[in-house]
Symmetry: C2
Subunit: 246 residues, 2 copies
């Protein structure tokens, strides 16, 4: 098998790419050819390749996306998470000659990566093994193959925990934004409504925002203030947590 010659055995990686745009949270999925299921963009590690670089390459090859900051978040290592039968059926439908030692029939431990991007900036394209590569709404997901919905849920849980103590929004919002825009970003990721006054009090207490002298134009009555991130404090809070280090 080609796979066995060029890739590390037993190891794969899967990427959960969340996309935010106009108050919607989506995730990038590939429609598996010859099956009704969808899949996370994933792949294997070349025998002499750095694991992090492999994740970047896999994402680029399968979706056309590059320069996305991928964060390793969890290893999925249950013995029965690989599904040889599923792969056997796909190969049969594709007319591939089947050998019980086929590369895809082994047990794979998979390394999960995630990212959050502004999805109007990126233009995904499918690879040869998929019919489609599309942003799907997080609240209306299709059936996923193997344990990919577990991987997706764990990534979402990690993202939601992350924003409890780290800032978010840079590269997702315009450079100047209003408090309601920022609040809707949080509400979209958390999938719940937040109290306007509590949100404003809390986010301002972290000191990562600068209130600008200008206000939003084209608004009839009381024009809302515009804010931008104080990038020095934003990056400090990314590193140390929102309430600062000890």
């Amino acid at each position: 098998m080609e796979g066995a010659k060029i890739y590390l055995p037993s190891l794969s990686l899967d990427c959960v790419i969340f996309g935010f745009h106009e108050n919607q949270l989506k995730v990038l999925l590939l429609k598996v050819k010859n099956a009704r299921q969808w899949a996370l963009p994933g792949g294997f590690i070349l025998k002499n390749e750095d694991v992090g670089k492999a994740a970047e390459r896999v994402l680029r090859e399968r979706t056309g996306l590059s320069e996305i900051f991928l964060q390793q978040f969890n290893v999925f290592g249950k013995p029965r998470r690989s599904d040889a039968n599923f792969h056997r059926q796909l190969l049969q439908k594709d007319g591939v000659e089947i050998d019980n030692d086929h590369w895809l029939f082994q047990r794979f431990v998979t390394i999960g990566y995630y990212a959050l991007v502004e999805y109007s900036y990126v233009n995904p394209r499918p690879d040869n093994f998929s019919d489609e590569c599309t942003w799907r709404d997080i609240n209306d997901l299709p059936e996923l193959m193997m344990d990919h919905s577990q991987i997706l849920n764990k990534a979402l849980e990690t993202l939601r925990a992350h924003i409890n103590y780290h800032p978010i929004g840079y590269n997702l919002l315009p450079e100047k934004f209003t408090m309601p825009q920022l609040q809707r970003l949080y509400e979209t990721i958390l999938n719940k409504k937040l109290d306007r006054r509590n949100f404003q009090r809390k986010i301002l207490s972290y000191g990562i925002l600068k209130r600008l002298k200008e206000v939003q134009r084209g608004v009839a009555h009381k024009a809302p203030y515009l804010y931008s991130f104080d990038l020095r404090k934003y990056h400090k809070a990314l590193k140390e947590g929102l309430q600062g280090g000890w």
Copy 2:
């Protein structure tokens, strides 16, 4: 080779077990037989074994420790992190017949786990491949094999970032403790002095402590207050972060 028959290829795991006791932070290390280097307790994953269970088994077999809550924290996947020459020399010194296909000569991607325990509660013992299994002071470490000092440093960085937004101390301090005792735990992990008043103000603001009616006995002048953790709030903060969820 025996290894190739029973273990998943290409994958290993390493455990960084931090121990706290009487204001010292230590790490559990094994002295490698026939070499001057020390190593983290590590090992391999059986072909049909859950990865998390493998970490528990490896730690138990190599050190005698069980029921330690291991937290997966990072995958180390540089192509040249394995060191075939180092292993070749060890095997030579041990009189093992050497085969270039030896199990240990392959490239391993390793999964890092860490834990923090009260080290007087645990009694480590070495396995057959080590001369010693000992708690070593974090500020006075011996030479470590391969990339084990990088793995250790990354675990320490993860632990220090973790306590910026999660509570710590339960199972490390007595049930009732004074504010100075709690402060010294933080100072020991962070390896720096903290301002007494700032520390007290900040830790009290998180609402995870209960001030008890009793004071510490046997103290000459002003007896310090005793505290215990409010476990409901402590566990909530473990999950959502110290300043609470959005």
